[in-house]
C-alpha cells in the first residue's frame, strides 16, 4: 500500500479539500507506522524463540574423538563414551532422537568458535565451566563434576599428589593439568613431555613416567583401556582417588540462550532423578573402580 492509497482510503477523504486529504494521509501513515512497530515486535520475539536449542528439530552436538570412555571415535565411524551417552540422553529429553541428532568432532581449541559460528548447537566434550568461558558461551549443567586425580601403576607407592615430588609426571603440551600439580600445589615433580594422554598411558605402562594427572573421568577411561590390553608392567594402572580440584563439565551453547539452558538443566535433573545418570556412570566408570558421585551437581545458572 502506498501513502496515496492510504490517504484515499482514510475516513476523511473525498472532501475535495486539500488539507483534509493531507491529514488523512498523515493519519494513515501514523497508523501504518504503529502497525509496523507492532508487527516488528512480534517477529522479533518469534525469531528469538525459534533460535533456542529447546525448540530445534535437529541438533548438531560437538563431541571429543580421542578420550576413551568419555568421547571416542569408534573404528566403525560412530562415537562412544560417557559424554556421547549424556548427549544422546539430553537430546532425547529435548524431543530430538535418532537421525535428527548429528555428532560433530570438536577439540578444546575449536569448540568455542564452533558454538559462536553456529556450526554446533551443543557441545558435550569434557568442557569445564570457567568464568572466562562463561563470558563467551552459555553453559547448562554441569552434568558431572570431575576431579583432577592421579593415575599410577598398580604397584606404585604414590598415595596423593604430594607423593609426586621428585617423580616423573607426564606433561601434555597445552593441558593445564600438570600445572595444577607443579604450580598450584607447588609439588616439584619431574615433567616428561608427551603428545597426548594415550601417549602418557604408554609411557606409564612402559615405566617412562610414574604418574599421569588429569580429570578422573579421563583417567578412568585410560585405566580401562590399559586393563583391556593386559595391564602392562606393574599391574593394571589405578587411580589414587586423591582429588585436587572440582571441574564442572558443562553443556555449551550459544551465548544468551537462556531458554535452551533451562531446558537442558531440566533434562539433566531428570536424568539424575530417574536413575539414568547413575546407570551411565556405572556403565562407564564402575569397571575401573572410580569413586563417582551419583547426585545432581550444583548448576551454574542460565541468566
Amino acid at each position: 500500500m502506498t501513502r496515496n492509497d492510504v490517504g484515499k482510503g482514510g475516513f476523511a477523504g473525498g472532501s475535495g479539500m486539500r488539507e483534509r486529504k493531507t491529514r488523512g494521509r498523515r493519519i494513515g501513515a501514523a497508523v501504518l507506522a504503529a502497525a509496523s512497530v507492532l508487527g516488528a515486535t512480534a517477529c522479533g520475539i518469534a525469531a528469538a524463540e525459534e533460535d533456542s536449542v529447546a525448540d530445534k528439530e535437529h541438533l548438531v552436538i560437538g563431541v571429543n574423538k580421542d578420550q576413551p570412555g568419555v568421547g571416542q571415535r569408534t573404528p566403525a565411524g560412530g562415537y562412544e563414551g560417557f559424554d556421547i551417552d549424556i548427549a544422546r540422553e539430553v537430546a532425547k529429553r529435548l524431543r530430538v532422537t535418532g537421525g535428527n541428532v548429528t555428532f560433530k568432532e570438536v577439540t578444546s581449541g575449536t569448540r568455542q568458535q564452533m558454538i559462536k559460528d553456529g556450526d554446533v548447537d551443543l557441545v558435550v566434550a569434557s568442557y569445564s565451566i570457567t568464568p572466562d568461558r562463561k563470558a563467551e558461551v552459555t553453559f547448562a549443567g554441569p552434568y558431572y563434576v570431575a576431579h583432577q586425580d592421579v593415575l599410577v601403576r598398580g604397584d606404585s607407592p604414590i598415595r596423593n599428589v604430594r607423593d609426586l615430588k621428585d617423580r616423573n609426571l607426564c606433561k601434555v603440551e597445552g593441558s593445564v593439568s600438570y600445572q595444577r600439580v607443579t604450580k598450584e600445589k607447588g609439588v616439584a615433580a619431574r615433567l616428561v613431555p608427551a603428545t597426548g594422554y594415550a601417549d602418557c598411558l604408554d609411557k606409564l605402562t612402559g615405566r617412562a613416567v610414574d604418574a599421569v594427572s588429569t580429570d578422573d573421568l579421563i583417567l578412568a577411561g585410560l585405566a580401562a583401556q590399559a586393563a583391556r590390553r593386559g595391564g602392562g608392567q606393574g599391574g593394571p594402572p589405578r587411580i589414587v582417588n586423591a582429588p585436587i580440584s572440582d571441574e564442572g563439565y558443562g553443556i555449551g551453547m550459544r551465548l544468551g540462550d537462556a531458554d535452551g539452558c533451562v531446558a537442558v538443566n531440566k533434562a539433566i535433573t531428570g536424568m539424575y532423578q530417574d536413575g539414568t545418570a547413575q546407570r551411565l556412570l556405572h556403565k562407564w566408570f564402575a569397571p575401573v573402580k572410580l569413586n563417582y558421585t551419583t547426585t545432581v551437581p550444583q548448576f551454574e545458572g542460565c541468566e
Partner: protein, 500 residues
C-alpha cells in the same frame, strides 16, 4: 467515500437506520437538506452497498464507528493496565520475594554444616565449652530457618521435576541431621582438645559434609535457579504485554482520533457549521486519555524493568555470591579440620573465591595477591565483578567499594592462616581462627548485605511506584468512556434531530 458529494434533491425520506444505531422515527416530509440519497432505481453492487446513502445514516454510521473505536481503545487500555498490574504483583509481591527467601535456604544449610564443623573442632576444650554451646545453638537456629525456607521453596515448585527436588531435599536434611547427631555424640564420647577430632568422628563428619556438599547444597541452589527462571519468564511476558499494549493504545487512539476528525469534518461540510464543540471536546479528551495512558504504560514498563534489573537481578546475583562466600568460609574450617582432604578444600576455596570475584590465577597464593590491587574490579568477572559493571544506583559505588575492601582483607587473613599451616603451625592457626571466629569474613558479609540492601531499596521503590502508577485506573477507564460517549452523542444528536 467520494460519494459524499451528491446533488441535493427532493425525494423520499432516507431509508431506515443502518444496523447498530437506535432507530430514529421517520418523518414523512423530508427536510430540504443536502445529502439526500440518489434514487433507488439504480441498485448498487459490491462494496458500494455497504456505504450508507443518506446524510443521517452516514452520520449514524460514523458515530457507530467512533463508539466501536472508543470501545476498542478502552479495552486495550484496560488489558495493558491489567498486564502492568500483574507484572508488578508477581515480581513485587509473589514470586520475587519468595525467590529471595529461598536463596536463604542455601545460606542456612551452609551455616548448619559450618557450625557443626566449629563444634567438632572445639571438642571438649575446657575453657571453650560456651563456644561449643554457641555453635550448637547457632546450628539449631540455622536448621529452623532452613526448614522455613525449604517450605517456601517447595511452594513455588511448578512442575514435577522441581517438586521432586524439593521432596529429595527434605529427605536429605533428615539424613544429614542423623549423621550430625552421630558425629556430635561420638565427639563427646572421645574427648579431645581443640583441633582435629579423632578419626572415628571425622569419618562420620565426612559423610555428613559430603551429603551436604554433594546432595543438599546443589539441590537447594538448583531450586533457587528454577524459581529465578519463573520470575524471568513472568517478567518477559508482562514486559512484552505492556509494551505491545502501549502500542495498541496508540494505534486504537489514532483510529479513534481519525474517526472523530472525520465526523467533525463531515458535519462541518454537510451542515455548514464550522465547529462542533462537543466533538471537539471529545477529540481533546481522547488525545488526553491516549497521551496519559501511553505515558503511564511507559512508566509502568520502566518501573517493571527497574524492579527486575536494578533490584531483583542484583539481589539474586549477590545472594548467590553470599551463599558461595559462606560455603568458602566453611571450606577454610574444613581445611583445618581434615588434613587428609586439605588439598581439595584449598582448591575448592580458590574456585569459590573465583566464582565470587574472578581473577585469572594459577594458585590460591597468586589469586590472593592479585585481588589486592584496588581499582581494577570493573575488569573482573565473577558475581562481584559483573555487579560492579552494571548500571549504578546512587550510593552503589561506595557500597561496592567497601565490599571490595573487606573482601581483600578476608583474602589476606586466609593467606595468613594458610601460611601458618604450611609452616607447621596448624594448631596455632586453629586457635587464632577460634579466637576471632570469622571476623574478616563477618565484616565482608556485613558489607555485602549492605549492598544487597541498596538493591532491595531500589526494588521496593520501583514496586511501590509501579503500584501507585496503576492506582485508580479501574475507575479512570470507565469514567473516561462514559464522558466520551456523552460528548459524542451530544455532538451528533442535534444534527440528527434536524431530520426529524
Amino acid at each position: 467515500m467520494t460519494a459524499v458529494h451528491q446533488a441535493p434533491s427532493a425525494g423520499p425520506p432516507p431509508p431506515g437506520p443502518p444496523p447498530g444505531t437506535a432507530p430514529v422515527p421517520r418523518q414523512p416530509a423530508a427536510p430540504v437538506l443536502p445529502g439526500r440519497p440518489a434514487t433507488r432505481s439504480e441498485p448498487r453492487t459490491g462494496a458500494a452497498r455497504l456505504v450508507p446513502r443518506t446524510v443521517a445514516s452516514r452520520v449514524r454510521a460514523l458515530t457507530v464507528l467512533v463508539l466501536v473505536a472508543l470501545a476498542g481503545l478502552l479495552a486495550v487500555t484496560w488489558a495493558a493496565v491489567g498486564d502492568a498490574r500483574d507484572g508488578v504483583r508477581v515480581i513485587g509481591q509473589d514470586a520475587g520475594p519468595q525467590v529471595v527467601a529461598t536463596g536463604d535456604l542455601y545460606t542456612q544449610l551452609i551455616n548448619m554444616d559450618a557450625r557443626l564443623a566449629d563444634a567438632l573442632l572445639i571438642g571438649r576444650t575446657p575453657n571453650l565449652g560456651p563456644k561449643r554451646d554457641q555453635a550448637l545453638a547457632a546450628y539449631d537456629d540455622s536448621r529452623r530457618k532452613a526448614g522455613k525456607a525449604l517450605l517456601q521453596a517447595s511452594g513455588l515448585a511448578d512442575d514435577d521435576t522441581e517438586e521432586r527436588t524439593a521432596r529429595e531435599l527434605l529427605d536429605a536434611v533428615a539424613r544429614y541431621e542423623r549423621l550430625a547427631g552421630q558425629a556430635l555424640l561420638l565427639d563427646q564420647q572421645t574427648p579431645h582438645t581443640a583441633g582435629t577430632p579423632p578419626e572415628g568422628v571425622l569419618k562420620v563428619y565426612r559423610q555428613a559434609t559430603d551429603l551436604m556438599k554433594l546432595d543438599l547444597l546443589p539441590k537447594a541452589y538448583n531450586l533457587t535457579l528454577d524459581n529465578g527462571t519463573l520470575v524471568r519468564h513472568t517478567y518477559e511476558n508482562k514486559q512484552n504485554a505492556v509494551s505491545n499494549g502501549r502500542l495498541w493504545v496508540l494505534l486504537t487512539g489514532i483510529i479513534l482520533l481519525a474517526l472523530l476528525g472525520a465526523l467533525q469534518l463531515f458535519l462541518a461540510a454537510r451542515f455548514r457549521r464550522m465547529f462542533n464543540p462537543a466533538l471537539a471536546l471529545a477529540t481533546v479528551a481522547t488525545l488526553v486519555l491516549v497521551g496519559v495512558s501511553f505515558t503511564m504504560l511507559g512508566g509502568q514498563a520502566d518501573q517493571l524493568r527497574k524492579a527486575k534489573e536494578d533490584g531483583f537481578d542484583s539481589i539474586l546475583a549477590l545472594s548467590r555470591a553470599r551463599a558461595i562466600g559462606n560455603s568458602a568460609n566453611a571450606d577454610q574450617t574444613r581445611f583445618l579440620l581434615d588434613p587428609v582432604r586439605a588439598d581439595t578444600y584449598e582448591q575448592v576455596f580458590l574456585s569459590k573465591s573465583q566464582t565470587i570475584l574472578y581473577v585469572k590465577a594459577d594458585s590460591l597464593a597468586q589469586y590472593s595477591a592479585a585481588v589486592q590491587t584496588p581499582g581494577k574490579e570493573r575488569d573482573y568477572l565473577g558475581f562481584l565483578g559483573t555487579e560492579s559493571s552494571r548500571t549504578s544506583l546512587p550510593g552503589q559505588d561506595r557500597a561496592l567499594g567497601s565490599v571490595f575492601t573487606e573482601y581483600r582483607a578476608y583474602q589476606r587473613d586466609d593467606s595468613a592462616m594458610r601460611a601458618l599451616v604450611a609452616g607447621g603451625q596448624r594448631q596455632q592457626a586453629i586457635t587464632s581462627r577460634l579466637a576471632r571466629p570469622d571476623s574478616s569474613f563477618g565484616r565482608y558479609d556485613v558489607a555485602l548485605s549492605g549492598l544487597i540492601g541498596l538493591h532491595q531499596k531500589a526494588f521496593d521503590d520501583a514496586i511501590k511506584k509501579g503500584d501507585d502508577g496503576t492506582a485508580g485506573w479501574n475507575i479512570v477507564i470507565p469514567a473516561a468512556g462514559l464522558v466520551l460517549v456523552a460528548l459524542v452523542l451530544a455532538g451528533v444528536r442535534p444534527r440528527l434531530s434536524e431530520y426529524r
